[in-house]
Structures are given as structure tokens and as C-alpha cells.
Amino acid sequence: MAKTFKGGLHIDDHKSITASIPISFAEGSDIHVFPLQQHIGAPIEPVVKVGDSVKVGDLIADNPEAFMCVPLHSSVSGVVKAIEPRVHTSGAKVTSIIIENDKLYEKSENLLPKNPDNMTSQEIIKVIRDAGIIGMGGAGFPTHVKLSPSADKKITHVIVNGAECEPYLTSDHRRLLEIPETVIDGLQIVMKALNLKEGYIGIELNKKDAIEVIKKHAPENIKIVSLKTKYPQGAEKQLIYAICGKQVPSGGLPADAGVIVLNVDTVTQISKTFRTGMPLIERIVTMSGDCFNEPKNLLVRMGTSFNDLINICGGFSKQPQKLISGGPMMGIAQYTTDVHVIKTTSAILALSDTGDTFENGSVCIRCGKCVEKCPMKLMPLYLNKFARKEDFESAVKYNILDCIECGICSYLCPGLQSPLVNIRLAKQKIIEHRRKNQK
């Protein structure tokens, strides 16, 4: 029986657009842009200057002082043209390192494969940190931090998240189909670092082919778990509940439940880093939606411009209403195509009709569908009300800070309210307020 969590719902997944298209390699852009803000945590500083020559895999930014950060590497060879603010996929302008690509793709000499078998946990985790590896599903949490829980937390499970529950996305699906052995190798390296005998890979049942392929490759100590196709099955806490039956305590991290969850792309990268020495410089981007002439799954070098990727897909067949970086439920709408792929860009979606109406007169009819489907068992209709009234005290009492922003409430609302917009804003204000009070 397929495992799952309580709440959530099946959303038309539109994955057939790209599910059967093999991963192809995307040519680099003339100019690559590397925003310094690609992970959650401490900021990093450039270690190159304008005019410096860099090679593929060279370190270009880091912050050796801070634990909660990862370095950044060049994905091309060429010359640093500028270090200046550029539009980031978050919508803000962020200091970025701009490198002119000489298209020779000369590799850095000091990248050597490493054998995890002769390494201690600390050494393995250090390699992962130095390769700039983060959670590539969207949040961008540094992987080495995940792998270094405090001593009082006993880790019992490690899970590779192959749920890929966001509609349209097929990058994890293609990875699992095309290079299952790399995914398994990456997981085994992590298991070694954590001294775990067993590992899990959770995959939604809408990827039956991937489940079969990976089952063939998986050794006995790696369990493949079929998950019900339901959004948000790939949300960390929901995935942990489905596979281990444990709830991550409110306000805590997966490690508090003794679990570590890693994205498919992340474990793939861990394997590549150990076997080839190459740090994180490329990722898979699903190019989908109903507006591309040729939707694709692309292997993309970091810093490639969205414009070039759109051209690789034959341009738009019709004018998109929305251009989204990431999935349609949690991704970020872009206002320009002049942005660049970062470590967390899982997809670029061009959608012609998103059902956005922006009509006046949206109303809550108290249908309770948001309450019934909320995967965190919250009451979005009340959170929405409190957030709009800025009644933060009540909002906190109704557990607003536990919201994972999956978007189901806004997706479902027949009254066309967007609870999540108000909830998100209120959460930010509450957290800011708390920070101020701590100081």
C-alpha cells in the first residue's frame, strides 16, 4: 500500500508534458551571473576580483567564518567582468559575480575524486560543504548543516525525497530513471557519513517507471517506498510522517524526529562530487508549461540566463501570463526573463492561463475546505482573517507559524480568497517583531 499523510489533495500534475523527455544538456550563456544569495543562512563574500580568470569548478565566493553557509563555484571558464547587483529570481537585486564565458569550459586542476570509504564522517561532511551543496528542492538549506545535527539528536532515518509533488516538475523523475545508480551512490555516501545501515527513497506512484528502475538498482539496505500521489507529499514533514510515521515537533527540524531528508538532485550531486571532484555547478531544470514550443528537461550550468534557456526550448508558442521559477504551487513569479539559474531553480514554467482573476469581491463562505485539506492541520480561514486584521496574537494562537506555505488553501478556495498571501505577510511581520524584541 502506498504511504501518505493526512490532508492534502491530488492536483492535476501536468507532468506528461516533460516526463518522457530525456535530460539534455543546455549550452552555457555568453555571460553567467552568480548571485551571492543562493542558500539559507549567513551571507558569503566574493573571493575573486574583477578581471580575474576563473576555470570551471573554481571557488568564487565563500565565508569560511560562518557554519551556516556554503561556498559558490564558477560553472564556466572565463573572466570576471563585474561584481554588481543583478535581479535575482526572488525579485530583489542581489550582489552577483558576473563572468564572461569563454566557452572553453577548462576545468580547474585541483578537482580530484575522493574515496568516501577511507574518510571519517567529519571529512565526508567537509567535502559536501566545500562543494557548495544545498537542498536543491527549493529552500536551499546547506546540506552539511543538515548532516551535522547536535549530539543529543539521534538520527535513525535518512530519506531521499523523490516525491516531486509539485505539478509540472519532472527533473527528479528523469534523474531516477536515467542515473539511478548515482542517486543510490549519493545516498550510500550520506549513510556512511551518518553511520546508518539503512536508507529510504520515497517516490510518488505517478512515477511507477522510476520506482521499478530504482528497485532494480537498489541494494537490500535501501528501501524504496511508494507514496500516494498527493500534494504536498514531498513537503519534508509530510514525507517523514508518510515513511517513518513520525511527526516533526512543531518549530523543530527533521533531525528532531531523528530524520534527515535530502533531495534527489542533492544526493546526485554528492555522488558526483566524490566521484569526479566537481563541486555543485549544474542542476536539472524542468522547462514546462503550455507556452514553450519544445518543453525540456535541461541540465543547466549555474548562472545561465533564463532568456537563453527559453530560446533553447524554441521560445514561446504563445504569450505566457506567468513565468515561474520553481513549481506552480510554491515557485516565484518572475517579472523579467533577465534572471539567471541558481542552485534552487528546479523549473522554469511558462503558463498562459493560471486562473488568476484579481476580481474584486472575493469572499470566505466558510466552506471549511482549507481546514479539511491543510497538511499542517491549521485553520487557514481564521489565519487569513487574523492576518488581515493584524491580530497577530490570535494568529499565533491559531499556529500561524506552523504554516509550511504549501498553498493548498489559496488553490482550493472557491471564494477566490488567497489566504496564503496574508498568512505569509503576517508570518514575516511576527518573526520580525520577535527578532526586534530579542535584541
Binding site: 493526512k6 490532508g7 492536483i11 505539478p167 514533514k237 510522517y241 511527526q247 515537533p249 512543531s250 518549530g251 523543530g252 521560445g315 504569450q319 505566457p320 501570463q321 506567468k322 513565468l323 515561474i324 506552480p328 504551487m329 510554491m330 515557485g331 516565484i332 513569479a333 518572475q334 517579472y335 523579467t336 514554467l349 503558463l351 493560471t354 486562473g355 488568476d356 474584486n360 469572499v363 470566505c364 463562505i365 466558510r366 466552506c367 471549511g368 481546514v371 479539511e372 499542517m376 492541520k377 491549521l378 485553520m379 480561514l381 499556529n399 506552523d402 506555505e405 498553498g407 493548498i408 489559496s410 488553490y411 482550493l412 472557491p414 471564494g415 477566490l416 496564503l420 498571501v421 505569509r424
Partner: protein
């Protein structure tokens, strides 16, 4: 190519379900009961229903005009209210009373409190109770089903159960609706068909109607004072299939706006409705208690919601 994109906060897709669609489903679900009502009580019943719908929609339209608000008629909720009012009328009620009742429901109960989603009482039930109090005679005179042109007055099964003179119908005819009563409430089979449609379309959940009916049945079976020449089971089934219980359970106690949004709250709501209905039918002055039961529970809804906040995912006991 010059690209202009819409930028908004996630999610970027939306389910194609609107309020008007939900209301349309409710209207469809009420069609079997409407059809059976017109079949049993004739053209006069159709006139009552159409009057109620027209009066409701017109009231809402003119309210919005006068208050300079965008018209909310397009969400079809006024049609649902009107239809429910019509189905809750005795077939012989004067049409002008129906007009007054419908206007009361829409203007006083619904629109003055802010319109759809804001009223705290069920408009159709309020109209019915208002009319029962205002015109007790007309609202409690019922006719025999399938009677010829001259409608023959007849006691409803519930008033017989309450002690009025009359003959108790068989359980089967009560189930099919061949009894005296309000237009849309007599045919349990038609209401259940509509209810199943709503469940199938996921417009309503099973909790309130099923719990309300079962708990009510259990109460009648064990505590109902049966002084008639029928078995206790027949007595219970007559109570369940007669009067407004079925219509109330599936179409009034499931009204979104006036009922709890939490699972536990819905269970409490269903139990409360059943209990109050039982108390009124057994010990009250009225033979019927469903309307009052639901309205009383409507009043408790904000409290029920507040005290049944679900335990959040990842809940930890505070130490």
C-alpha cells in the same frame, strides 16, 4: 519579444471551483425533492417554489442596487435560499407570505449582516421560523398529497405522533413522501438521492447529516415514548422520514456559512442538532423541531469552532 508577466504570490494555479459552481450543485441536488414535491402537491407547489426563488433573487438584486454594492446575484446563493424556502412551505400557503418570508431571509438575515459568508443564521430556516410565528395558521395547515383540485386538509405524520387526530402513514409511504407536509420535506428518498449527489461531488461531508440522523434515530429508539400501535423501530423510522429531519440534515445543517469548519466541530454540531430536535419533538409544544435545532446550533457555531481547533501537525505537549 516584449514580455509582460503577471507577478503575484504563490500558488500560481487555482482549482476551477467557484461559489457559483457549488451553488449549482446544491440546486441540482434539490431537484429530486422539488420534483417529488410538485408531483405530490401539484401546480400550487410549483407556484410557491417559483415565488420564493423570484422573491429571494429580486430582494438580493435590489438590496445591492440600493446599497450601491456590486450585485451578488451571480453566485446563485439567492436561488438556493429561495428554493429551500419554497421547499419548506406548506403547499397551501398564500403566495404573498412567501414573498415576505423570502425578503426577510435575504435582506434581514443575510444581506444586513454582510451577505454570503457573513450571516450567522441559516436564512431559509429563519424565514420558516419567522413565518411559523407570524402566520401560525397558514404555516401549519397541510394538505393531503395527490388530492384532487380541492385540497383536503390533513395532519402531518409528526402532528399525529404529537397527538393530533389522524392516521399514521406506513413507513414506506413516509419514505417515499406520500404524506402531508412541507413541499420538499416529505420525500426522504428524493432528499437522500440529492444528499448522495452532494457527497459524491464533495460539496458536503458526511459528518453532520449522517451523525445527526443516526443520533436522532438512536434517541428516538431508546427514549421516544411510543404510544401507537407500531413497533419501536417503525416509530423511530417514522420520526426520521417525517418532517424536516432529512431536508434539514442534508441541506440546512450542511450550510457552509453557519456550521463549524472543523471535523470535531461538525460532529458536535450534528449531535447537538439531533439532541435538540429530539427534545423539541418529545417535550416541546411544536410537533417539529429541526428548524429550531439547527438555528440554535448555528448560534453556537463560532464557539464550537473556537473550542475545536484541531491539534496541529507536530503538536508537542508543553512541558
Amino acid at each position: 519579444m516584449e514580455n509582460k508577466f503577471i507577478v503575484s504570490s504563490s500558488p500560481h494555479i487555482h482549482k476551477e471551483e467557484k461559489i457559483s459552481g457549488i451553488m449549482l450543485d446544491v440546486i441540482i441536488a434539490l431537484m429530486p425533492a422539488t420534483f417529488m414535491g410538485v408531483y405530490y402537491f401539484g401546480i400550487r407547489a410549483a407556484a410557491v417554489i417559483l415565488t420564493a426563488i423570484a422573491a429571494s433573487v429580486i430582494s438580493e438584486y435590489f438590496y445591492c442596487r440600493f446599497m450601491k454594492k456590486t450585485s451578488s446575484v451571480g453566485d446563485f446563493s439567492a436561488i438556493v435560499t429561495g428554493l429551500l424556502i419554497g421547499l419548506n412551505m406548506p403547499p397551501s400557503v398564500p403566495l404573498w407570505m412567501v414573498v415576505v418570508g423570502s425578503a426577510f431571509a435575504i435582506i434581514i438575515v443575510k444581506m444586513l449582516y454582510g451577505g454570503i459568508g457573513k450571516n450567522f443564521l441559516n436564512p431559509a430556516l429563519c424565514a420558516r421560523c419567522f413565518m411559523v410565528v407570524a402566520w401560525a395558521g397558514a404555516m401549519t395547515t397541510f394538505v393531503e398529497p395527490l388530492s384532487a383540485m380541492d385540497a383536503v386538509s390533513s395532519a402531518t405524520p409528526l402532528s399525529v405522533l404529537k397527538g393530533s387526530e389522524g392516521v399514521l402513514p406506513s413507513v414506506v409511504s413516509a419514505f417515499w413522501g406520500k404524506t402531508a407536509g412541507c413541499i420538499g420535506e416529505t420525500s426522504s428518498v428524493a432528499i437522500i438521492a440529492g444528499g448522495i449527489y452532494l457527497l459524491f461531488r464533495r460539496v458536503i461531508t458526511w459528518r453532520i447529516p449522517v451523525i445527526m440522523i443516526i443520533v436522532f434515530g438512536v434517541l428516538e429508539y431508546f427514549f421516544g415514548s411510543n404510544t401507537f400501535a407500531v413497533s419501536q423501530l417503525e416509530f423511530t423510522l417514522l420520526h426520521i422520514f417525517s418532517g424536516g429531519l432529512m431536508l434539514g440534515a442534508f441541506f440546512m445543517a450542511t450550510d457552509y456559512t453557519t456550521t463549524p469548519t472543523t471535523k470535531m466541530g461538525q460532529i458536535i454540531f450534528g449531535v447537538g442538532c439531533a439532541f435538540i430536535t429530539f427534545v423539541i419533538r418529545s417535550f416541546g409544544g411544536y410537533p417539529e423541531g429541526v428548524s429550531f435545532a439547527i438555528l440554535l446550533m448555528n448560534l453556537l457555531t463560532p464557539l464550537i469552532d473556537r473550542y475545536t481547533i484541531p491539534k496541529k501537525f507536530g503538536y508537542v505537549k508543553s512541558k
